[in-house]
Point group: C2
Chain length 315, copies 2
């Protein structure tokens, strides 16, 4: 097995798949980059965007050429996507993915692997609220974490996959699949679920018209609608596929929220102040860790405001 | 009563007060702008930042000169802040505020008003997660909504206050105080509370170390920490002061979240997909309404990425 992958096939041309293809091309990571998608319309858009060396008609038609095949489809579609080409792959082809959950994907795909073929799960922690090939961009993975969940992190294939993702600009961490699923349930899956729930509550408020929710969204609500705008199919699959970990953290969250509710009802200002004060420091640490912009409002309101600092005001 | 305010006193030099002072100066809205703060350290920082025509030692010492006095202190400090200078104000001085709740502030201040003096509540729906005079900037209110809650929206004072805020770049809406409190409970207070609760849950997760929450925060969690980093004292006062409306929407929210939890437990993928799909359209409407940036991830990840569009990729 050589140190790099000659031919890489990306199955799925959405936000993540098309971004990965762009990143492979831009960073000259592979000799040949083939991308495909089940959806003919997506394939034609990939072609129009000139993504990769080749947009294949199907995974089945090109999988035999590939040294690395990356499944970039929603978690619930992984098994079918793999089955479509499992019978034609080379014995030393490495199979990987980009799914936001790992345990269930590994569990489903492992029994389908031809003898000797290895699957190593990967999860680049990167994305935007947009979907589709037009939404992708090459720097999506730059300075973002990519979690790999190999059985043996010292294996040649694990080290090759690590090197591949490093060339996308990512920082790599090896992690047990079960641990990944619990950590991500906290830092990603729960935030998305509570954002979806909030959008539901707000739109359903009978006494508040929709128009007013939109109108006054800058008070905080708009932040939540961003992540609630993410791909619904992908997120359905995440919640169904990582059920136990999500139910665990969601249960704790509802407890915490209910405790705050009680403090509001009973006017316990000191309890509220203590809870709210804790939250500030974690924001600072996320900014310090390079995982977030330090500019107020994520910088979105400041775009025409560069001359408006206290230092150069004329008052 | 003339059509504009000659002398304006802003009581409180934090994010909102100092931003308003800057906006008054930059837009030449008043003849004389005085700002003060109870905290000597804040006063000295306001002086160092050269904010307004004068940084007064106390509201009491200058309130007699003012035609408009704006209370820019946390909701729970409004009554005391007003009492400090109530006995020296001119009979035709207008009192206003910038508080995120309206009903309780009006209820508390009205009995303290000297005969003939009017209070009109104002709430500029603008802010950032930062606090203090250094965090302020003149364009904070530009293109944001400002809610006014006068008893009579056709009164001279209501129209003068409307004109004042229009000069800050705000769009004005008149609203009943009770309605304001319910709408904002949905669009602002509830989002902040669920963000505070999430940060609490995440940091308390015993099986997930803090470091990992920070490390993988780009998966969604970091969005929530921004609004959970807002001023804790102000938010304590908001929840205590708008208790009934907050409990009403929070109750509905917990119901909605519990229903999603049940759907996850029972694997009801179709229910989840339907709920998640609803959420996308409201995001589009917020962007269309000019209340939000359309760029992915609020634009925060794209800052070094301007050359990286599909159109000019070289692949």
């Amino acid at each position: 097995m050589s140190k790099t992958f000659h031919t890489v096939l990306i199955v799925g041309g959405g936000l993540i798949g098309s971004s990965l293809a762009r990143a492979c091309m831009e960073n000259n990571v592979v000799k040949r980059l083939i991308i495909t998608d089940k959806d003919a319309d997506v394939r034609s858009r990939l072609n129009a965007l000139n993504i990769g060396h080749e947009v294949a008609e199907s995974a089945q038609s090109v999988a035999a050429q590939a040294d690395l095949i990356i499944l970039a489809v929603p978690p619930g579609a992984m098994t079918q996507a793999f089955s479509d080409f499992a019978d034609v792959i080379k014995p030393d082809c490495l199979i990987s993915d980009v799914g936001s959950i790992k345990g269930k994907i590994i569990k489903d795909i492992t029994p389908l692997l031809p003898k000797g073929v290895e699957f190593i799960g990967a999860h680049p922690i990167a994305g935007t609220e947009n979907s589709g090939p037009e939404a992708g961009f090459a720097s999506l993975f730059t300075d973002r974490w990519c979690v790999l969940t190999p059985a043996d992190e010292n294996s040649i294939s694990a080290q090759k996959l690590k090197s591949f993702w490093e060339k996308m600009g990512s920082q790599i961490v090896f992690m047990d699949a079960q641990r990944h699923d619990l950590v991500l349930a906290t830092t990603s899956h729960l935030p998305h679920l509570i954002a979806y729930a909030l959008v539901g509550t707000a739109t359903d408020m009978e006494t508040v018209t929709r128009n007013e929710v939109v109108k006054y969204s800058a008070g905080g609500f708009r932040d939540f609608t961003r992540i609630a705008a993410s791909d619904p199919v992908m997120w359905r699959d995440v919640f169904l596929g990582n059920r136990d970990a999500v139910l665990e953290v969601l249960g704790r969250y509802i407890e915490d929220l209910t405790a705050l509710k009680k403090s509001i009802r009973w006017g316990e200002g000191d309890v509220l102040l203590k809870e709210f004060t804790k939250a500030r420091s974690i924001r600072d640490r996320i900014v310090d860790a390079g995982q977030e912009s330090a500019t107020p409002n994520f910088g979105r309101d400041m775009q025409n405001d560069s001359s408006d600092t206290p230092d150069n005001k004329d008052g």
